[in-house]
């Protein structure tokens, strides 16, 4: 069984990103190739903000996602429209909007909803965390 995760809950107003991370760890523990990809939509895209600095005595959720993605080769997609409107900008979008900075954290990538549709059609099951 291969899963795609759709995460829509804000990392600050919900535990969606936290719970999904725990789900991924459990799934990988059972089967190393069980996660096809993770798509962040709505306020969940805020997970990809590289300049957010959580207090040092709390979990750094963005870093936790980066580590699990890097260690297990899991693609982390942020909806580009949802991300850009919330200030999560990669270098390409930064140039397009003539900005001086970009804020997208490493290991995350901006993709359109078409990528989510593709994941839906190539994965056994898609699970939403909200």
């Amino acid at each position: 069984m291969q899963y795609t995760l759709l995460i829509t809950g804000s990392p600050y107003h919900s535990k969606a990103c936290h719970t999904a991370l725990r789900f991924i760890r459990a799934a990988l523990n059972k089967s190393p190739d069980s996660i096809k990809g993770v798509f962040f939509y709505e306020d969940a895209v805020l997970i990809g903000n590289q300049v957010a600095q959580p207090p040092r005595d709390e979990i750094n959720l963005t870093r936790a996602w980066q580590e699990i993605a890097e260690q297990n080769n899991i693609p982390l997609y942020l909806c580009i429209a949802a991300a850009v409107r919330r200030g999560i900008i990669n270098e390409g979008e930064s140039r397009r909007y003539e900005l001086e900075q970009h804020t997208l954290a490493e290991h995350f990538q901006l993709e359109g909803l078409g990528t989510l549709v593709d994941l839906m059609n190539t994965t056994n099951k898609i699970i939403q965390f909200r």
């Binding site: 759709l6 829509t8 939509y41 306020d43 909200r130």
Partner: protein
């Protein structure tokens, strides 16, 4: 090809959830994926004709409803017996379901996403 249900349950103007749920429905339809909508709770306000949202409220999402048929989104379900939904002042394209139909509807789709 999976049949998807987008369930809108939040107010059209209290957050972006309703808009982003509708955006996903339109993208699915654009990619020729079968998709239906259902509305409950505060999202039912989307159906009311008398909407004049300001820029602060956000886009007039009610206007999107008329265009759904052009995306081949033909089924928009609500649960029957919402007395405050006046049939003369709300969008007519919905299919009301009784409680049993409403409950069984969710198991008829390969995937259900909630906004």
């Amino acid at each position: 090809m999976k049949h998807t249900l987008i369930h809108l349950n939040t107010s059209p103007y209290s957050s972006l959830a309703c808009k982003e749920g509708l955006d996903l429905a339109l993208v699915l339809a654009t990619f020729e994926q079968p998709v239906d909508l259902c509305l409950s709770g505060a999202a039912l306000a989307l159906l009311s004709d008398a909407q004049q949202p300001t820029a602060e409220h956000g886009k007039n999402l009610h206007k999107l409803l008329a265009g759904l048929e052009f995306y081949d989104i033909e089924n928009v379900y609500i649960e029957k017996n919402h007395s405050w939904l006046n049939s003369t002042t709300s969008w007519q394209g919905v299919t009301p379901l009784d409680s049993t139909e409403w409950q069984t509807m969710f198991s008829q789709y390969q995937q259900v996403f909630r906004f």
